[in-house]
């Protein structure tokens, strides 16, 4: 895959506006004026990912979009008693994905969890890697092969990249199956 180098130029100029389209959204503007500024504890956060490696710009853009989508969910987003996704869960999810992915990795799917956590999943031909990040940022990983046998079933110690090595290999193997199949 080829990634064109896309560098923002003259960001302070008013002739070449480079602001992100559609952000902030009209609904947020309306809320701002109708409800004034929410209390600090209620304020909705967003994330910006600034990759140090230009080859991962595509992943940063994708993860940023997905995590912000989850962070925008209000409480009771499931119609029941679900909590909003927490900052801790969002931060851990981003750290995990960037610890596991490289240039050939498939982008994972992200799902909110009712406790405020995040579920991260890769699925290829029946095999899968699933990581459950709880609302405090703790994480558990489960990797299965195509017949459902567990290959990895462990809690993740995030600062310790050694414990992530088998998981990184599992994600890479899934990605290679797709790349070779193209």
């Amino acid at each position: 895959m080829t990634h064109l180098l896309d560098r923002p130029i003259a960001t302070g100029s008013t002739i070449f506006p480079s602001a992100r389209a559609g952000w902030p959204e009209a609904q947020e503007e309306e809320e701002f004026y109708l409800r004034t500024v929410p209390a600090l504890s209620e304020r909705r956060l967003f994330v910006q990912l600034l990759p140090q490696d230009g080859n991962l710009r595509w992943l940063a853009d994708y993860v940023q979009s997905e995590i912000n989508r989850l962070l925008s969910l209000d409480k009771r987003w499931d119609g029941h008693r679900a909590r909003p996704v927490t900052d801790e869960a969002a931060g851990s999810s981003i750290s995990i994905v960037f610890s596991l992915c490289d240039e050939i990795s498939l982008p994972p799917q992200f799902f909110p969890l009712p406790d405020g956590g995040v579920q991260i999943e890769w699925h290829v031909a029946g095999a899968s890697v699933e990581i459950e990040v709880d609302s405090m940022g703790g994480a558990h990983a489960l990797a299965t092969d195509s017949v459902g046998s567990a290959l990895i079933d462990q809690d993740l110690d995030l600062p310790d990249l050694v414990t992530l090595a088998p998981l990184r290999d599992a994600v890479r193997q899934l990605s290679l199956r797709v790349v070779r199949g193209r």
Binding site: P8, T14, I15, A19, F46, Q48, D53, A60
Partner: protein, 253 residues
């Protein structure tokens, strides 16, 4: 010349929201009576061309905006958002370019104002991470010459013998590493972009932008970076453009 922008990006200050900037608006009201909202500009940080994979995570409130503080004739502009401060001069009508020292002074004064404002209200401190100096020129090309970059860049040779003839439009981007100032990586970007505007001849924007990290996050290092960038911009213009443009440059810079 149609625009000069001297600006910085600093570590995000989430509490620097429009409602907090109301006090600054009062302070600047005499010089900048017009205030408008604009979408925020995302970060643009010079990255090394290689190195270990890592990511910088920035959390902030979603309800951010960028405020424009405009002078009465709208040629002088201050842009403020939760992680940026930029001073612009823009050619509006026949407004003369006030020259680099005046725009630099405008930036320096507003930087000091904003820093004092943030300190007084215990909102935060400005820790500069990137400095950006941008000069934009609009160069008349006339007729159907949007494909003639040789009118803008002295070293450009139009393609000869192409079976479709001369290109209808042409644009170019040059990126130079700058190694004698700031903390690497520092880069200069030169761009030529064709443009059309109702009621005038076709023209090209020639932009020269220098961006990178200063040697420290304070005002002194920021101004030192801007001064160095200004020298590179002036020298680059002289080296890249045809001699006949230099006289025009001298008349306007």
């Amino acid at each position: 010349m149609v625009e000069v922008a001297l600006g910085v990006q600093f570590r995000p200050i989430p509490a620097l929201r429009p409602v907090e900037l109301a006090g600054l608006r009062e302070q600047w009201r005499n010089e900048f009576p017009i205030v408008t909202d604009q979408p925020p500009v995302p970060p643009a940080i010079e990255q090394p061309t290689s190195g270990p994979s890592s990511v910088q995570l920035v959390f902030g409130p979603a309800l951010q905006t960028r405020l424009w503080f405009l002078g009465a004739d709208e040629s002088m502009l201050i842009q403020v958002q939760h992680d940026r401060l930029t001073a612009n001069w823009r050619k509006i009508g026949d407004s003369p370019y006030p020259r680099y020292p005046a725009v630099r002074q405008l930036f320096e004064d507003r930087f000091a104002d904003l820093a004092a404002f943030l300190t007084d209200r215990e909102i935060g401190n400005i820790d500069v991470t990137q400095v950006e100096v941008n000069y934009t020129n609009a160069i008349e090309l006339g007729g159907d010459r949007l494909g003639h970059l040789d009118a803008v860049l002295r070293h450009w040779a139009p393609p000869e013998g192409h079976h479709l003839g001369v290109p209808e439009e042409a644009r170019i981007a040059l990126v130079f590493p700058v190694t004698d100032m700031g903390r690497p990586p520092v880069r200069m970007y030169v761009g030529v972009d064709p443009a059309r505007q109702i009621g005038r001849e076709p023209f090209a924007f020639l932009t020269l932008t220098v961006r990178g990290a200063p040697t420290a996050g304070d005002l002194g290092a920021t101004l030192e970076f801007m001064d160095g960038a200004h020298v590179h911009v002036v020298n680059s213009f002289a080296e890249l453009t045809p001699p006949e443009m230099h006289e025009t440059w001298r008349r306007t810079r």
